[in-house]
Subunit: 332 residues, 2 copies
């Protein structure tokens, strides 16, 4: 493992996790399973399973013992993408058509539902690799609670679209729930594949939670200032959907009356033209919102990194550290 | 327990399970949790939790040890109703507006997703009542696999609507997956709350599976010949949605060319008039489809009852036997 870089580690985890997922997510009717693995096959960064595997390996576990948990979190992530795209009426994801655009909304809802259950079915397989049942039960508790939180965050996000007065505090809570909670669970599951030590699990939770928040803030930034081909979905879709991102919240607090009205007149208008969207984006950028959001993201990334001090000094701990830095630096 | 009848047993289980569900399914945002418990509060028969509790008690377990599993299956059932109503565009359920009619499709999808995860979160609480972790892991495996099957059945049902040539065999497979699998899991979970005995669990599975199939066939019958106020949803909605029920499959196989064309001209037409629907229903009834379907349902109910011979002769075993009879006799 000496000198392994983030990229090749990511590749090797993705290979193992994808193989496990594709082996376990298959069956009849074929359309259901095709819909379910559509986004898995389309790519993605596999950040969550990478956190599971790196945390487990950093604590001395064999990789194969961590793979069922790693696959479970990626399966959960995939299901939330399928349902999110229906909810947000997004048509493109990971550079391919959204699941509901190919198979229709009824089958897309059902494919997401199947995956949500499948995550627990595959978790239990950790038993075959020697993970004690006590820890599997804790893992089920951890994953299910995080999924409840993800739904709470999703609900907050849905309701924010009708509100003009979302605060930074509410935004951060929503982001923790919608994104941070599954990262938090991923890090905890990696720990549970390896150890009973509650102190270690708690620190891993803190790592995952802060990493997830940093990651989502950067996602908001890329949604406004990213390159379409790299992020795999249309830029400005957050504006079109009226999402209360950290950038929008900050800009609304800094703009004068005229600027605020201008921005609000575009926000959430699904028929806004490219020109109007670009103008709104410039308005947001003019307030220094991107620099502000970046500083908050860096703060969380640093907190994530600091939480790792409880882990033994291993190459996989360094992978987790690099991941924290990557969450803010990335352009994809 | 001497001489307890089905009705009062059902009432007592419903009271305990509902209290547990309402205590555990609560949080913020309020709208999400209101949407999630809307159908729980609207009534329902609580058949699945009753199976869990009766099986556990028949095997000598304390009721409180079975309540987390019983709540889990009812929570799963509730979530499938919420998503099914979106998929089928149904507007009324249990005599109240469907969840998506009150809170909109995005929040209804999310409420279902939350419940699906919540089921596993509450299952784990069986640990606090002395159920060994080995059996909780088996219960997680059992419930998650059944939920995967429910999704497979739902997908088959969705795809049947575009097909004219669904066979009785395909129908029975779909019904087993969509309805039977969760009944099967309910009976198995009741067993797992009480015992490690694989032979007992296997027989309980058989009981639940056959009961679920009988129950669904009767549901199809009530959907055509039931009383609207009793079943809590509009009669004929299956016809309007073009569902390939056992009645439709049988009728299509018995009608002459003219009758078949007449029936197909109404089936799946959402704008069909009440008169057209009534005519189609009469056409189906004229083939003897209801008598045929009833005989198949009775066959499954008898198989369910026979599978109970493995249980000790207790009042709760008699409850399970009565439930098998009720699944076919019921008018609600």
């Amino acid at each position: 493992m000496q000198g392994v870089d983030l990229k090749s580690y990511a590749r090797s985890v993705a290979r193992d996790v994808d193989a496990f997922i594709l082996r376990n997510v298959s069956g009849e009717p074929r359309e259901l399973y095709d819909a379910a693995v559509h986004l898995v096959k389309a790519g993605g960064k596999r950040l969550r399973p990478m956190i599971v595997v790196a945390a487990a390996e950093a604590l001395g576990a064999e990789r194969e013992a961590a793979i069922p948990f790693a696959a479970a979190v990626e399966i959960v992530h995939t299901y939330t993408l399928i349902h999110d795209d229906i909810i947000d009426e997004d048509e493109v994801r990971r550079g391919v058509p959204a699941v509901h655009k190919v198979w229709g909304i009824p089958l897309a809802i059902t494919a997401g539902d199947m995956l949500s259950a499948k995550a627990f079915e595959v978790m239990v397989k950790a038993r075959d690799y020697g993970v004690p049942v006590e820890r599997i039960v804790k893992a089920v508790e951890t994953l299910s609670s995080s999924m409840v939180r993800v739904a709470e965050g999703q609900a907050m996000d849905i309701m924010f679209e009708d509100r003009m007065d979302v605060t930074l505090e509410e935004y951060l809570k929503m982001v923790y729930l919608k994104t941070g909670a599954l990262f938090e669970a991923s890090a905890a599951l990696g720990g549970l594949a390896a150890t009973d030590d509650e102190r270690v699990i708690r620190s891993l939770r803190e790592y995952g939670k802060c990493l997830g928040i940093a990651f989502q803030i950067k996602d908001d930034i890329l949604g406004l200032a990213g390159v379409e081909e790299k992020i795999g979905k249309p830029v400005y879709s957050d504006l079109r959907e009226g999402k209360r991102t950290i950038l929008v919240i900050y800009a609304l607090s800094k703009l004068d009356q005229q600027g605020r009205e201008k921005l609000l007149s575009v926000l959430g208008r699904r028929d806004a033209t490219r020109e109007e969207l670009e103008e709104a984006a410039e308005l947001i950028k003019s307030t220094g919102a991107i620099e502000y959001a970046t500083s908050i993201a860096e703060e969380y990334a640093n907190r994530a990194k600091a939480a790792l001090s409880v882990l033994p000094d291993t190459p996989q701990r360094r992978i987790l550290e690099e991941l924290a830095a990557f969450s803010v630096k990335r352009q994809v």
